[in-house]
Every structure is written in structure tokens, then in C-alpha cells.
Symmetry: C2
Subunit: 419 residues, 2 copies
């Protein structure tokens, strides 16, 4: 236990020292490191596959579920995709050093804000080994040092990937400790990592809700976290029927296990009769189970009754709760009460209602006439995302390079003093 | 204990409900409320003075120190200044609703970020009753609901001020619970406030370091906090002597008990002989006690020897630590080791060194050729400040209206679905 703590403190000290060098690295050096990492990953395909086989064998022995085994597997195309992902991060603009809003103040000083790295970022994640490369690339590009703690089931795969990252950093003349993988599967390492305030500036946990709740509860280091995605689509009576159906189908059926999938459909009483039967047919064809309020069950008999639990459920599955409401106010009240402030959509042609929904719904993404599935760092133009934040402070919604930086004030004077 | 918790939960529920109305209030209504609050404060001068007398009498009875009694006192000019402060906040631009960077993405959707209130802000503060009006005005203008918990020594004064705020809110048609003062001096109320995650979005403690550390440690609600201000001025050997002396004198002697006062002076070995004796004379005239490294004591004999504790000390008093360094790297290493990442200054005419200092010193404010005393929301043009953050996430340095808001993503489509 003490040895583990000492080890983690060493990791932390090394990360802090590396962070200072990463922060002043030029874009060229960081991009060269990313290119070298991508090349190292491609060159190491055989070693990565061998390391991954050890994890897969252990996983099978330990009775890991097929879905988890699939997520764990590193096939040659997945290794190539991982290298490509790193190259895409190299191609993004460097956020560090930009000075915004430099203005002259009445005192004569010039004041602005410079974008700077956060420092040391701790990433705690579960089975997918590609997160090792993705997260490292984003932290590196934003000028941070990273401490990565992957799942024990992917330990050999992650270690092999981390070796490639180290090679790339060294080739580009950046500190090898700029990205460190915690070299133990001991769970006490996580406890140490999330309480090393002196060495870690922010934590980004990636994984199931249980993992994130546990880390948020115990961490003293600030956490950028992603909890529920209970997303709503509200179809207003002034909606265009075709747009409404297209959006409601896409938001539910495009992918089921994702945080930006619709989980509850709200329909204005004045349009439900027109669009709900058509929607129910489409959902039926897709194999989506519907659970409705009494009014919606009166229109579509094959629906199961929705219970109070359904309104707050994040199914992540082909299941949809359906409720008929009297209008915009009732829809927004439902969203405020049962939603998770992730992504909510209104479908309407009415200007004033669209505007009210945009203004008043307090979610990380609010949309008019678009599928909730667009709530994504790539779709929003961030180039990449480290995760989606359901917090309000610092970073809200999809988090890209900017979320991995902060701004400091810069003041340029010429001998100015305060009077 | 249970009754207190119930009371605080009621306060929290009321704040959450009021926050929804405050968030959609138009700038005109919020400004009308601020003007009405200012007028109510002026009209209530006699009541405010009477309430304040009760606090002052109790304070004297309880042996409150003269400095604290002075901070507690509400004179007619101070009441007028408080009303003026509220009017100044009314005159600031409304941050809410601005949409930044609305761009069309390849998918056809328009994506941007709308500035929105944080929700419910908890302010915990000590003796100065004017914070009640200042903090309420800033929270209100930014579209938030506020829960204020002032010091027990100012309870009657704060209650009277909160009455004026309530009057102003009601006159403008805004919810009276938009600003609530916790109506008890029971300390258990603070414990409840800082753990009501469901009802409070962020805490801004204002007071001594002990208060802030206690709250940060025990809070489950996120805290925007201000800890130490161990600020440095580094005089490079390529500094202009006159600017160096003017800045070093101003940064130390302009005011002593403030977080942006210089606490340690670093001098390049090549300039110390020229400027340190002159500076020591100026500090001597001002009554500033100097504590120096051996090299600086060789130049100025009247200095006391500095101990290791002096390098990390936030004196908030006419005391200054002085150290001679070999150059920029040693200065920056000293700042990284002993500083508090608040405000640090380089005085130099050298372009490359100025630029390195700006880039590499990881403090909330970094300055070239200007006094550290400029690190202030008013001097930076924020119009007002709720505090100075020493955190890196969300808000760093002086925090104005923008720090009391967040941004949500808005997506405008026309039936767009994800393919």
C-alpha cells in the first residue's frame, strides 16, 4: 500500500516536471511527436496484436462477456484506425498560446487572455485500448502531460501502446514522461491518482456510470464528468410532419447504446394523432419497444404502459418512452424534471417557440429541427473529443482541445503602476 | 439539526424555482430590479443604520477587533457607495443569451454556443455587509438565483439589505426568491448549503483562507475559490531602472493587505547592485521590513535574513522577501516552487525574456512592466468582480459576470438527421 503510494507520487512528480516542458513545446514539436507515435503504432502492429492476444486470452479465461471481448480486441484495421486518429489530432490547430481580446485599458495597460494547457490530466478508462492513444494524443496536442490508467483487462495492450507513445515523444525531443501509463493493475493506484491534487490538475474518467460516480465521489482533484444522457425530442403541433418523423426515427434508431440517443419522445397533443401512429410503425419495424402514457396508448394500442421510472430512464437500448403533453410549457417542465441536461430537441416551424426552447432548456446541447445524434465533438467541429461533459463549469457538452486548456490573463505595460 | 436541514432544502427548492425565472428574465427587467434595489437601499438608510448599530453593539460586547468593527460598519457614505455599486452593475452589458461562433457544419446544421446563467450560486462571506448587495447584484445581472450566507456578526445588517433586494426584485416583477439570505446564524446551515448539489450549482466563498479551505474541503458543490496571493516581481538585468523601481515600490506599498501585493522581490544579479540600495531606501521610508537572501544582505545591510518560510509567505503586511537570482530561469524556477500562481511580474526591456515569462509562468495573471496591483476585475475591464479565482478550471483570475455564466451548445437544423 505504501509502496503503491510512493510509486504514484513518483508518477505524479514526473508528470508535473514533464508538463512544464510540454507547455512550452512548439506546435511543430508536438505534431512531430504525434506523427512519430502514429508511425510507431503502425510499425508495432505485430507486437500490439501479440500483447492484445494475451489480454483476450485472459479475458476469455475470466469469462468476459462477448461484447467486452469485442471492445478489447485490437485487429489490424483497428490499429490502423488508431494511428489515423493520432494523425487527425496532429492536423488540428494548436490551441496553446492564442491571446484573445487584448485591449488597452484606461490606465494604459494592455490586457488579454492567453490560452494555456491545464497541466497534468489524469484519464481513467475501461476496456477499449484505443483510448490510450486517443486520450494521449489530445492531451499532448493541448500541451498537457497525461497520466493514463486503463482497465486491468487491457493491461498488456495498453502497455504496448504506451511504449509506442513513449517512442514518439522521444523521437520528437519531448519528455518521455509526457504520457505515462500507470504500470500496475492494483486498484489502489486509482485512489492515489484521484487525490494527488499537487500533481494532477483534472481527471477525465471514461467509462460506465458506476466508474464515474465512484471517481467523482472520492476524488479531490476536479473531475470533468459525463453521467446520464436522458435526451428528449419534443414534437410541437407546429412541426413539419416529415421533419418530425425523420428526426424522431433518427434520434432513436441511428444507434442505441450512445448517450445522445433519444430516450423519451414528447408530443404535442395537437399533432400526436397525425404522427404517432406513423412513428410507431417505423419503430416497430426497427424493433423498438414503446412505453407510453395513457393518452399515447389510446392512439397506439401496442404500447406498454410507462411507469414513473421510464421518464428518467437512460435505456441505451431499443426502448422508448412516449408522452403526450399539452404544449411547450409542459414539455419543458417534463425535461426540467426528468432530463439529465445532456441534449434536448424541439421540432417546430414556430419561431417564438423554437427561440423559447433554445433559451430556456438548460441542457448542454439544445437543438431545433435536428437529431440529438448530432451532439458530438466531431459533428460540432471540435475535430476530436475527450468526452462529453454533463457538468456546467469549465466544459459543457462535447469536450475537445479547448476543454483541455484554460486561459490566463496577460498584462503588457511600460512601467505602469496603479494610482 | 433536522429542522435546519429542512429549512435549507426549502431555501434550495425556492432558489432552483427562482433560477428558472431569472434565467429567462430580459436585460430590461434585471436592470430595473437593480435600479429598484439601489433606490431601496438609499431610501432605507435609517433602517440600515439602525440594524447595523445592533450588529456593532453586539460586536463591541463580544470584543470584536477594531479592524473588524470598521469593516462591519455601515456609514451613510458606505450605504450610498453600496447603492452606486448596484447601479454600476446595472450599467454593465448583459452577458446572457450571446451566441458565439455560430457556424455551418458540413452536415448542414448550424452550431454555436449560447452564454447562459449557471443557475443557483451560493455565496458564503464574512463580516463586510456590503458583500450582500455586491454579490446579489452580480448574480442577478448574470441571470442566476443567489443564496447568501453572511457572517453572524453582520446578521442584522445583512437582513436589512436583503429586505431591500427583495423589494427591488418584486418591484421589477422578478421572483423575490431570486436572492435569498439564509435567515439563521446556525453554522449547520453552511454544512447544508455546501452539500446541496441538487439545488446549488456553484459556491463562491469570500473571506479568509481558513474559511475557504474549510469550505473547499467539505463541499460537494463545485467551489470557485481564492487561496493565496504570493506574488512576485522579477527585475531582469535588462530592465529599465526607473520602471523597475516604480513598479517594485507600487507593487509592495500601494496597499499591503491585498492579494495582488508583491510578497517577494527577485532581482537579477546584474542589476541588484544598481537598484536594490535605491529600492531599500524607498521601502525604508515606507516602513517596509526587508528579509533577504545572503547576497542581497551583502548589498543592503539593514535587511533581516530570510528563512525558507519567507519564500512562501503571504505577508499581507509591510514585509518583503528579497532574493538575488542568476537570471530568468532561476527566477521562474523560484516562482514555480514558492509562488501561488496568482500574479507574477517581469520587468525587462528584453523581448525574448518578456515573451518567455508570459508563456512559461503558470499564474492566473502574468505581467510585463506593470505593477501586480493591476490584477483586479475593474482594472481588467470586467466592470465588477465577484472574486479572484486561484483555480485553473472554469474561471481563472478576476471573476466577473462571465465567470457567473456558462455556455451551452445550440444547434439549428431544418430536419437534419445524422447519417
Amino acid at each position: 500500500m505504501e509502496a503503491m503510494k510512493d510509486y504514484m507520487l513518483t508518477v505524479g512528480e514526473q508528470a508535473r516536471a514533464a508538463a512544464r516542458m510540454m507547455a512550452r513545446a512548439e506546435a511543430g514539436a508536438k505534431n512531430a511527436a504525434l506523427e512519430a507515435i502514429a508511425a510507431a503504432l503502425e510499425a508495432a502492429e505485430a507486437e500490439l496484436s501479440a500483447a492484445n492476444s494475451r489480454d483476450l486470452e485472459a479475458g476469455r479465461r475470466n469469462g468476459l462477456e462477448p461484447a467486452l471481448l469485442d471492445r478489447l480486441e485490437l485487429t489490424p484495421p483497428r490499429i490502423a484506425a488508431m494511428a489515423d486518429g493520432v494523425r487527425q489530432v496532429a492536423a488540428l490547430p494548436d490551441p496553446v498560446g492564442a491571446i484573445a481580446d487584448l485591449v488597452q485599458r484606461p490606465s494604459g495597460i494592455q490586457v488579454g487572455r492567453m490560452r494555456v494547457p491545464l497541466g497534468v490530466i489524469g484519464i481513467i478508462y475501461e476496456s477499449r485500448p484505443n483510448v490510450t492513444a486517443d486520450a494521449a494524443a489530445l492531451c499532448l496536442k493541448a500541451g498537457n502531460a497525461a497520466v493514463l490508467r486503463g482497465g486491468s483487462e487491457a493491461f498488456h495492450s495498453n502497455t504496448a501502446i504506451a511504449g509506442c507513445i513513449r517512442t514518439g515523444l522521444e523521437e520528437a525531443g519531448l519528455p518521455a514522461d509526457g504520457v505515462q501509463l500507470v504500470a500496475t493493475t492494483d486498484r489502489a493506484a486509482v485512489g492515489a491518482l484521484i487525490t494527488m491534487d499537487e500533481y494532477v490538475d483534472v481527471l477525465v474518467p471514461r467509462g460506465g456510470k458506476g466508474l464515474i460516480e465512484r471517481i467523482s465521489r472520492d476524488a479531490t482533484v476536479p473531475v470533468i464528468k459525463h453521467l446520464d444522457g436522458v435526451c428528449h425530442v419534443y414534437i410541437d403541433d407546429r412541426a413539419d410532419d416529415d421533419k418530425a418523423i425523420a428526426i424522431a426515427v433518427n434520434a432513436k434508431t441511428h444507434r442505441y447504446g450512445v448517450c445522445n440517443a433519444m430516450e423519451t419522445l414528447l408530443l404535442h397533443r395537437g399533432i400526436a394523432e397525425r404522427v404517432l401512429p406513423a412513428l410507431a410503425r417505423r419503430y416497430g419495424e426497427a424493433g423498438v419497444e414503446l412505453r407510453g402514457c395513457p393518452d399515447s396508448r389510446a392512439l397506439v394500442t401496442m404500447m406498454l404502459p410507462a411507469t414513473e421510472e421510464d421518464w428518467g430512464a437512460e435505456y441505451l437500448a431499443p426502448v422508448l418512452a412516449v408522452r403526450i403533453v399539452a404544449g411547450l410549457d409542459e414539455a419543458m417542465a417534463h425535461i426540467a424534471r426528468y432530463g439529465s441536461a445532456h441534449t434536448d430537441v424541439i421540432v417546430t416551424e414556430d419561431y417564438s417557440r423554437a427561440w423559447r426552447f433554445l433559451r430556456e432548456v438548460d441542457s448542454s446541447s439544445v437543438m431545433v429541427n435536428a437529431s440529438s445524434r448530432f451532439a458530438d465533438g466531431f459533428e460540432y467541429g471540435l475535430g476530436a473529443e475527450i468526452g462529453i461533459s454533463t457538468d456546467k463549469l469549465h466544459a459543457r457538452g462535447p469536450v475537445g482541445l479547448e476543454g483541455l486548456t484554460t486561459q490566463k490573463w496577460v498584462v503588457l505595460g511600460d512601467g505602469h503602476v496603479r494610482s
